[in-house]
């Protein structure tokens, strides 16, 4: 681990203390995990504290962990993952927070801290159904007007549920259940640890 990342981890430990659920450095990237109750508070500290100074929210995304490792996942499924960047300190941080309830995932919005969260949270809401409390305008953004469901959840099929066509009798566009069969050319496999290991190449 480089001296810079060590300094960042040390600063995070000092400033956040027991708000940290986990703090890891893997392949040169620092990942911080906090509980949903401490999310806003932590985010504010990350932005404003002179030893951290994460001025930019580069990315915010939802992740659905329910199928991770072919069902080996335990714990809450939905998480919001933020990628923060500090221009003055020139370092980056990944901040992950799990939504406690899988049935109705709710997280506080960081829109008031970083305005760039506006569309990112709308996207995570649209695609994963994570509700961001306090977001000023939580509408769907990428899917069609009137779309039902959250397409990036793992239980949503890749072919979707409905297809659209023009109906010449009704003289308008109609939605109907999909007629295509799901097809998987290359099956998804997870082999045992040593199989196809890059190190053995």
């Amino acid at each position: 681990m480089s001296a810079k990342l060590e300094a960042l981890c040390q600063n995070l430990q000092n400033v956040l203390g027991d708000r940290i659920v986990s703090l890891k450095t893997v392949i040169g990237e620092v990942t911080l995990e906090v509980a949903a109750t401490h999310y806003i508070e932590t985010a504010r500290i990350l932005r404003d504290h002179p030893d951290l100074r994460f001025e930019q929210l580069i990315d915010l995304t939802g992740v659905d962990y329910s199928a991770y490792g072919d069902g080996a996942w335990e714990g809450p499924c939905f998480a919001a993952v933020c990628h923060l960047s500090s221009l003055s300190k020139n370092w980056r941080l990944r901040l992950r927070v799990f939504a406690p309830d899988d049935g109705f995932p709710v997280l506080p919005s960081v829109f008031s801290l970083w305005n760039s969260a506006n569309w990112y949270e709308r996207e995570a809401f649209d695609l994963f159904g994570i509700h961001f409390e306090g977001h000023p305008d939580l509408r769907r953004i990428l899917t069609d007007y009137g779309f039902v469901g959250h397409p990036f959840r793992k239980d949503f099929p890749i072919s979707g549920h409905v297809e659209m066509r023009y109906d010449p009798d009704q003289r308008r566009v109609v939605y109907q259940p999909v007629s295509i069969e799901p097809r998987e050319v290359t099956p998804r496999v997870i082999r045992e640890d040593s199989y196809g290991d890059v190190g053995h190449g």
């Binding site: 893997v26 392949i27 040169g28 990237e29 990942t31 001025e55 930019q56 929210l57 580069i58 990315d59 995304t61 992740v63 659905d64 199928a67 991770y68 490792g69 072919d70 993952v81 990628h83 221009l87 020139n90 980056r92 990944r94 970083w114 305005n115 760039s116 506006n118 569309w119 990112y120 996207e123 769907r140 953004i141 990428l142 899917t143 069609d144 397409p151 990036f152 890749i158 998987e184 290359t186 998804r188 496999v189 997870i190 082999r191 640890d193 199989y195 196809g196 290991d197 890059v198 053995h200 190449g201």
Partner: protein, 417 residues
Amino acid sequence: MAEIRNYTINFGPQHPAAHGVLRLVLELDGEVIVRADPHIGLLHRGTEKLAETRTWLQNVPYLDRLDYVSMMCNEHAYVLAVEKLLGVEVPLRAQYIRVMMDEVTRILNHLLNIGTHALDIGAMTMVLYTFREREDLMDVYEAVSGARLHAAYYRPGGVYRDLPDRMPQYVENKFKNAETVKRLNEARQGSLLDFLEDFTERFPTYVDEYETLLTDNRIWKQRTVGVGVVSPERALALGFTGPMLRGSGVEWDLRRKQPYEVYDRMEFDVPVGVNGDCYDRYLVRIEEMRQANRIVRQCIDWLRKNPGPVITDNHKVAPPPREKMKTGMEDLIHHFKLFTEGMHVPPGEAYAAIEHPKGEFGVYAISDGGNKPYRIKLRSPGFAHLAATDELAKGHMIADATAIIGTIDLVLGDTDR
């Protein structure tokens, strides 16, 4: 007295100045924009979801189709993320080729942006000039990868093949006579590097031509100076990156601050703006093209002197050479497994970001150890920039909306994913 109220108009989704399928709902008070609400997603293809159903290698061509004017840069972020997870070393020559092609792509992208931006706000001629040069660079793309647009040239572990020794030639037909063909083929007699070097010698004069047309042009300045002003603080809060951030005077370039590949060996300057308006961003882009040209020249010099492998010899990641695959048993197995089942990427997560022509393009990849990604999140620069349209356009006249869309350097393929 008649009641006066704001009215709302629809800009797009099919509008020549919308750079794709952008629907912009504009609320107007007379001719002044009160609120701009972009509706995106008309080009949403679910690339991130599709990527979960394809192997790591099969995903490379999808990346081309995101920002379809800077194809190789998108691939670059993806292969960097995969390489980070795999922990493979990329041969030095491949790194130089990538840097060179990235800069070619940067020139391609900025040429399209400046040309169409000028076209949108009334300067017809620009687009004819910039597309002339784009044609040469498209030929470079075609020579290295076989495709003018969707290259799929970068692969995890290196690049698909080495740079070609000869350039494709024009042939005579009923539209081009022998004389024209001879003139067109003049620069194409040598290798790709010769052609590109010839281009880099010509290119600074071309940029001077663009500047003659626009930089001091009174109409261009009237349309861009003071339009869409962003302060450095707001640019940071809104998640701006790339020329949009540098136009506001923040010196932040990933190539310099967090160098990847061989950018730390390159000499180049990072231009920054002063006022943060459309005109400054235009100047930043013009200067970036000149700097990109400088980097391409440095890469050409190095590549001429240093032959070598261009893709890793780890055959769990990259296929063995064709001849070996035909003769060696183990190579045949590697080849078969790689192209059917695909490579297995160790569990973990990685975020790789590059200085894309439009800003920071990042790929956040999560692997659970399978032959397909568990989740890919593409951080496209245009998404954050377009989200700020409301703030940029508020208080401007309706005609400035096109200037603002142009300066964002919008490509909907990359915004909608």
